[in-house]
């Protein structure tokens, strides 16, 4: 029986679930407005229940995602200021980009072309850090501009009118960037690439097998064993129901995402 180690806590997995659900909700109710000249957009907007319903679910999803963002910030704050975990800010367990990530990127590219061995990745790879900060930046920009647009009357008390022109543009373009990135690059990097196909269940089960940890993140595996921290994160194998749950939710999310992405490609290049 293979050993399993805990990679993501239950809280992190629930937060990712909330992020997924609200993100898909936002994308589905927002993209028809962005691609309003396409037939599918008109169809989807009417199928979803019309302008009022789309607006309601867009705002509801936005509030949920904001909640998600705030919970994460509170958790980070707690780790940083109460538990004084400076490892959050720097080092191998931090998501903050560091010079080593550039080196990793270079080595990875060398490996792409068969010019060197595969880099020995740690807990967070450079593309995972990019994913994380892309979402972080995206939530700040899209969320911020979204709230300005939502409460335009309030914000117009102290913001000039052109701000609304700019926020409207940025909200849509940044959303397109986020949706396009998540539905292609993130899906591929985390799930669809040949090593992981069709899906990496770790974000649903939270558990990674010893073999996977050792081959995919040798730096982390060696560091944890060296520091004797492996035993602390030892976990029971993921239950079948949990794996199936992950497969169903993951497949649904990937399907919705890829369908939306296909429609976007139609809208952008089909005219």
């Amino acid at each position: 029986m293979p050993e399993y180690y805990l990679r993501f806590s239950l809280g992190q997995r629930l937060l990712h679930g909330l992020l997924m659900a609200s993100f898909l909700g936002l994308a589905t109710t927002g993209m028809p407005l962005h691609f309003n000249q396409s037939r599918w957009a008109i169809w989807l907007a009417h199928t979803l229940g019309g302008f009022g319903v789309m607006g309601f679910f867009h705002r509801t999803s936005a509030v949920l995602l904001t909640l998600c963002f705030l919970i994460h910030l509170a958790h980070l704050g707690h780790r940083l200021f109460v538990k004084r975990e400076l490892a959050v800010l720097w080092g191998p367990d931090s998501l903050v980009p560091q010079p080593g990530d550039l080196v990793e990127l270079g080595r990875h590219v060398r490996w792409f072309f068969g010019l060197g061995p595969r880099p020995r990745f740690g807990r967070y790879t450079y593309w995972e850090k990019f994913d994380y900060f892309a979402v972080f930046w995206g939530m700040a920009i899209i969320g911020g501009s979204g709230y300005v647009l939502w409460f335009h009357a309030f914000f117009s008390r102290f913001l000039p009118g052109w701000i609304f022109n700019v926020t409207h543009l940025i909200h849509g373009e940044e959303a397109l960037l986020a949706v396009g990135f998540i539905f292609t690059i993130h899906f591929f990097n985390s799930h669809l690439r040949p090593e992981k196909f069709p899906m990496d269940l770790v974000i649903f089960t939270g558990r990674v097998s010893e073999d996977d940890l050792r081959t995919e993140r040798p730096e982390e595996y060696e560091r944890l064993s060296r520091e004797g921290r492996l035993a602390a994160i030892k976990a029971d194998p993921p239950a079948l129901w949990l794996r199936n749950f992950g497969r169903i939710v993951g497949a649904a999310a990937v399907t919705v995402g890829l369908v939306l992405f296909t429609l976007i490609v139609f809208a952008v290049f089909g005219r």
């Binding site: 407005l33 309003n36 072309f113 009357a153 700019v166 543009l169 960037l177 090593e195 073999d211």
Partner: protein, 395 residues
């Protein structure tokens, strides 16, 4: 034939009146049911006796009694008819063109247009015109631009008001085209000639005409601008519909855009324009800000989009609108550095952010995918779970 009872020549100075009914009992009875034989007729003019139309000694058969006979009494109407499209078409030898009888019915039992049974009665007229004009073939033969005009009219707000509600004040064919003086729309004397359309519609819609005449469109039409819109450009003629209809509300935006191309384009970039493009009408359309019949250029102090009036205009929907709010550009152009400098730079920044991110990660992902596929085939990729990877790295 003994019309005069004592037919001797030379006859007495005054012969007894001729009784045509003696032989022509049916036509005589018919005449008594119509306006020509009614007791009301003499008060309005000379009595239409048999002889007035058919003549006396040179009595003509019915087929030969033409428009000229009607002209004896109805001279003004016949003159209008002769100058109109039907009369001229007849003159050119077209036997299908309408004569008096085509619309008013046979002369003997002819009813006044105020009579609900008359083919020219307000509520009956559309069907009467349709006897010829519901036929697309006829329209093709005579180059009449609208072939299915009757069907369109009957579905229009005017047609429904006439045919379903029985409204005498709703326009029927003759209210717009005239009755005897119908002329093709290309003729300046026609009631439906472009420049005459506003006054024709204004015959009923007087208040709207007043607003329109003060608008930029009305003033341009009055000044002779051939492309400035008249009523039918926005409302159409025979398909005219209620302006509260959802479909019409969306169509009218596109209609404005057929002339105001740039404005429609920039409108579509805004939330207002996107929502209406999806088919929902709860947001501002052209007329909500610019006015419909009252549309005026922004420099006009009376314009709803004049800087002095903008806050009030925004407030019609956005109760909390203030000066800042009204500075929002509802026709902002991200390509215009002069008009929207911030938007211009934001658009450029976003474009490069998208192009940059997708280019980098697109290539990165594609190469990675290929490498992984190649690696799997040659067994040099990362080890599958439970594979040889278990031998290095000691725990």
């Amino acid at each position: 034939m003994a019309c005069h009872v004592t037919a001797t020549a030379p006859h007495e100075e005054r012969l007894p009146a001729v009784r045509c009914a003696g032989c022509h009992a049916d036509p005589a009875a018919a005449v008594r049911t119509g306006v020509h034989g009614s007791r009301a007729a003499p008060s309005r003019g000379p009595v239409a006796t048999c002889a007035a139309c058919h003549g006396t000694h040179g009595v003509r058969p019915a087929a030969e009694v033409g428009v000229g006979a009607c002209a004896t009494c109805h001279g003004a109407q016949v003159q209008l008819y002769r100058d109109g499209v039907h009369g001229r078409s007849r003159q050119r030898g077209n036997s299908e063109a309408a004569t008096c009888r085509s619309c008013h019915g046979a002369a003997h039992a002819l009813l006044a247009k105020s009579d609900p049974g008359a083919p020219t009665y307000h509520l009956n007229l559309p069907r009467t015109c349709a006897r010829c004009h519901a036929d697309p073939e006829l329209a093709r033969r005579y180059n009449i631009p609208v072939g299915n005009v009757y069907q369109l009219y009957m579905d229009s707000i005017h047609g429904r008001a006439v045919s379903r509600s029985g409204l005498l004040v709703a326009a029927n064919c003759s209210d717009c085209h005239g009755a005897h003086d119908i002329r093709p729309p290309a003729e300046p004397a026609s009631r439906v000639f472009r420049a005459n359309v506003p006054s024709t519609c204004g015959g009923c819609h007087a208040g709207v005409l007043q607003e329109y005449q003060g608008s930029i469109h009305g003033r341009q039409v009055a000044a002779g601008n051939p492309i400035a819109p008249v009523c039918i450009d926005c409302h159409s003629a025979h398909q005219i519909r209620r302006v509260e209809g959802e479909a019409w509300k969306l169509e009218i935006v596109r209609e404005c855009g057929t002339c105001h191309v740039e404005s429609l384009k920039t409108y579509r970039d805004t939330f207002h324009g996107k929502v209406t493009a999806l088919g929902f009408t709860r947001v501002a359309r052209c007329s909500d800000c610019h006015g419909a019949h009252t549309v005026r250029p922004a420099i006009d102090p009376a314009s709803t989009v004049n800087p002095a009036n903008r806050v009030a205009t925004c407030r019609r929907c956005h109760a909390g609108a203030n000066e800042n709010f009204a500075q929002y550009d509802p026709h902002a152009d991200p390509e215009s550095r002069a008009r929207n400098p911030w938007l211009y730079h934001a658009a450029r920044f976003m474009r490069w952010l998208l192009v940059g991110t997708f280019s980098f990660f697109g290539v990165h992902t594609a190469v990675w995918g290929l490498r992984s596929l190649v690696g799997r085939r040659h067994g040099s990729g990362p080890a599958p779970p439970g594979g040889p990877g278990g031998e290095d790295g000691g725990a």
